[in-house]
């Protein structure tokens, strides 16, 4: 029987995967942190390891390096769970010796099972029916896709039941962050919120609530960046965190509805006269696989807006020929764009002066130089809100 070690600090996620693999004929062990994982690996001698990159005590990257430094495990398949928004971390995982990197956003237990079969084989026809609460599986059952669907539905039901309490905890964490008056306190609250959001990402991912998992993953990446570079904590980033927690609440409320669990195709217009800024915005949008069209000339942008529907518009403020505010005022007179979300990109010094933005009909703004992931988060909120709750 093939053996799999799961190193994952979220016990629910670890149990769900473990259970699924166990009922499919794998022998499994789990460890809740990297140090324990390494100890278990040496005694358990697994055929593969499933590893979360975000772990307490010892990071997932350090764990991979340690595994690769031991001759007995230098070729051991390591399947890494990561957050697609943490691109540098994924690069580090590849460099350290990961065998496969898997997005937590979209990896329900069935996907992991298929991946394990492809990687190390094994996984005979299941002798037992899986349970969703992490308890050992005992009842023999014929395994079918219906049973899989039932299993997934059970997972979703369990998660949905916990969402109101999760939202209360997220809001409390946000309040503590906003009220904190020292950098030490702020960092502590950022880290706590980050851990909570990391758990939301993992749990929503296994339960198939992809939209929640996506937004949580993006917020997790933003919080990680702020924790590592606290100088970027400012009125813009705090406002973005608050808006994201608020929108997660909206998605939680809708979790029982039959929304399509995927990021819908969208069309975004980026208007900025400066090529490097345009490139940065496009890059930030691509992080969430959001497609965009970019133009440097505000007059050309207006022509495009006159002829095409867009789901979101990013506008630089200071452009030759026509300011972003002027362009926004003009586009509000177009039948296609009376309600299209418009986000201004403006200097931090102007950030607190919101009058011009609101007077021109803008919906939001982001301070320059923006964190790329902050812009990604903002874009996700606006396009998802537009798709799920179209403006009347």
């Amino acid at each position: 029987m093939k053996k799999v070690l799961i190193i994952e600090d979220d016990q629910i996620v670890a149990n769900v995967y473990r259970n699924k693999l166990a009922v499919e004929g794998y022998q499994t062990e789990a460890a809740l942190d990297g140090e324990t994982g390494l100890k278990v690996m040496r005694t358990f001698q697994p055929d593969a390891i499933v590893l979360d990159l975000i772990l307490p005590k010892m990071s997932g990257i350090e764990v991979i390096k340690e595994i690769r430094s031991e001759a007995d495990f230098s070729k051991l398949p390591i399947i890494v769970f990561s957050n697609t928004y943490l691109t540098n971390l994924i690069q580090d995982a590849w460099k350290a010796g990961a065998t496969k990197c898997v997005s937590k956003i979209n990896c329900p237990p069935k996907e992991l099972l298929e991946l394990m079969r492809r990687t190390i084989g094994g996984g005979a026809v299941s002798p037992a029916r899986p349970t969703t609460d992490g308890a050992p599986a005992t009842k023999p059952a014929k395994f079918t896709s219906e049973a899989d669907a039932e299993f997934q539905a059970g997972l979703q039901k369990t998660l949905i039941a916990s969402l109101p309490a999760t939202l209360v905890a997220l809001r409390a964490g946000l309040q503590s962050l906003i009220k904190s008056d020292t950098e030490v306190a702020r960092l502590k609250h950022i880290h706590e919120l980050y851990r909570r959001v990391h758990a939301v990402n993992g749990n929503a991912g296994i339960a198939g609530l992809v939209l929640i998992a996506h937004l949580a993953a993006a917020l997790e990446a933003l919080l990680k960046e702020l924790y590592e570079k606290p100088k970027n904590i400012n009125s813009s980033t705090l406002r973005t965190i608050a808006a994201t927690v608020d929108f997660l609440g909206f998605l939680f409320e809708r979790s029982t509805r039959p929304d399509k669990q995927e990021i819908p195709p969208v069309s975004i217009l980026v208007v900025d006269d400066e090529v490097i800024s345009r490139r940065a915005i496009i890059y930030a949008l691509e992080k969430a696989q959001l497609e965009s069209v970019s133009v440097e000339d505000p007059n050309a942008a207006f022509k495009l807006l006159s002829e095409n529907q867009f789901d979101l518009v990013f506008l630089d403020v200071d452009m030759p020929g026509m300011t972003g505010y002027e362009l926004c005022t003009k586009l509000r007179n177009l039948p296609l764009h009376k309600k299209t979300p418009v986000v201004f990109i403006t200097g931090l010094s102007d950030f607190d002066n919101r009058t011009s933005s609101m007077m021109a009909g803008g919906n939001d703004f982001i301070a320059k130089p923006f964190l790329f992931i902050e812009l990604t988060v903002k874009a996700l909120i606006h396009v998802l809100r537009g798709k799920l709750q179209p403006a009347k």
Partner: protein, 153 residues
């Protein structure tokens, strides 16, 4: 459109990163580096070719903008100073040119006020800082080669 959960291997030649001090080491009096390499790495997913392309674009654009700024300062054209400095500051801030940006913001401010009182000196400081950026990035990316864009200066 169901997404494959497997993240494709995007292994590319890794770009170098500026060394960061260890968390448990005493905080040395470190001079601020001219470029936040983290931002460049972030913007390019650490792909060295993309970084080179972006830096080349930045060098070409900034070389032109500094020439425009010098001319505008000499001709006392405050609005031109404001406009060019604003654009140059935006790109520089996006790429993490931490020491360059405040100089450009100062030029932008003086241009907006219409009084280019110390603009000539600030321009000289900005031009000097740009050379330091070129040298720093050349050393980071390719120690053996001359700074990209150096021929323009």
């Amino acid at each position: 459109m169901k997404k494959d959960p497997i993240i494709k291997d995007k292994m590319t030649p890794a770009a170098p990163t500026a060394p960061s001090p260890k968390a448990d080491a005493p905080a040395p009096a470190v001079e601020e580096l001219p470029v936040e390499m983290d931002r460049l790495n972030d913007l390019t997913d650490g792909n060295a070719d993309s970084i080179r392309e972006l830096i080349d674009l930045f060098f070409k654009q900034t070389t032109q903008q500094l020439a425009q700024l010098e001319a505008a300062v000499r001709a006392n054209k405050a609005d031109d100073v404001r406009r060019v400095a604003h654009s140059c500051a935006g790109a520089s801030a996006t790429l993490g040119m931490t020491r360059f940006v405040p100089l450009l913001r100062e030029l932008e401010k003086q241009g907006a006020s219409g009084a280019l009182t110390t603009a000539a000196q600030v321009y000289e400081d900005a031009a000097r800082e740009f050379k330091l950026i070129q040298n720093f990035l050349a050393a980071q990316l390719n120690p053996a080669a001359p700074p990209p864009g150096a021929a323009h200066s």
